[in-house]
């Protein structure tokens, strides 16, 4: 169980959704995350960059079927921060 810790970086709606999407999978492609969030490339890039700089997600660019694809994955620190943030939110709500 992650220790409850409110994280202002993750609390932004789009960043919270990115962490929630990535928590259940090993990796998710940039375009899939973009489609799930219904945001533009530039908006998603901005949030991804913020999370990457904090060490919460990692980016890897790989070529598959002659197409360059960018994969996002949550790091162990990112997973702990996300779970801690969710635990903090649950504490605030009183769950």
């Amino acid at each position: 169980m992650a220790k409850a810790c409110f994280d202002p970086l993750i609390h932004a709606h789009n960043r919270l959704q990115i962490c929630a999407l990535l928590e259940s999978v090993a990796e998710m492609e940039f375009s899939v995350v973009k489609a799930q969030l219904s945001v533009s490339d530039s908006v998603l890039s901005k949030h991804v960059k913020a999370l990457e700089q904090a060490g919460y997600i990692t980016l890897s660019k790989r070529t598959s079927l002659a197409r360059q694809r960018t994969w996002l994955s949550l790091t162990r620190d990112g997973e702990l921060a996300y779970l801690g943030h969710v635990a903090a939110l649950r504490e605030i709500v009183g769950l």
Binding site: F6, P8, H11, H13, L16, Q17, I18, C19, A20, L21, L22, E23, S24, V25, A26, E27, M28, E29, S31, V32, Q36, L37, S64, L65, R69, W71, S73, E79, L83, V86, L89, R90, I92, V93, G94, L95
Partner: protein, 160 residues
Amino acid sequence: MNKDTKADVDAARAALALSGKAKRQALVLLRPPIWLNGIISLLAAAATITSAQASHSSLWTFFALSTSSALIALVAGWSFYLKLSGVSVKSPLGNNSKSTARNLALALLSAFIVLLGYHLTQQESWQFAYLAGLLIGILCSVGLHKLPAGEWISQDTNNG
């Protein structure tokens, strides 16, 4: 409460709902379509039935191997399709401790049903093979639909 670093109750509730919705979206992406779920569950049931009767004749053994191979190929195919679609599945034992425990419990329960079905079919009656097959089919169908990544998908999930 510091407004810069903490959220009020309504904002926290909204954030939890948003997070739960996004998590559900990710889990639904991993869920196979109903037709594929049906085929995989039928194959799992058939593999259980045929393997329980496998020692009776070489034909049953052939069917057991065929259905098991088809089952493995379909599951691997679905995983490959997901990867091509931009979603890479976590290892069944590499997720958080809760889902790892759920996956292990499901695997052990399935193994227990298969072995019990085999044992009772050899000792008692061939009908136990069909009973075990039915149980495995139901377990597989519910598992693929509701627990595709070891985490229960509910309509109103709230990170619970």
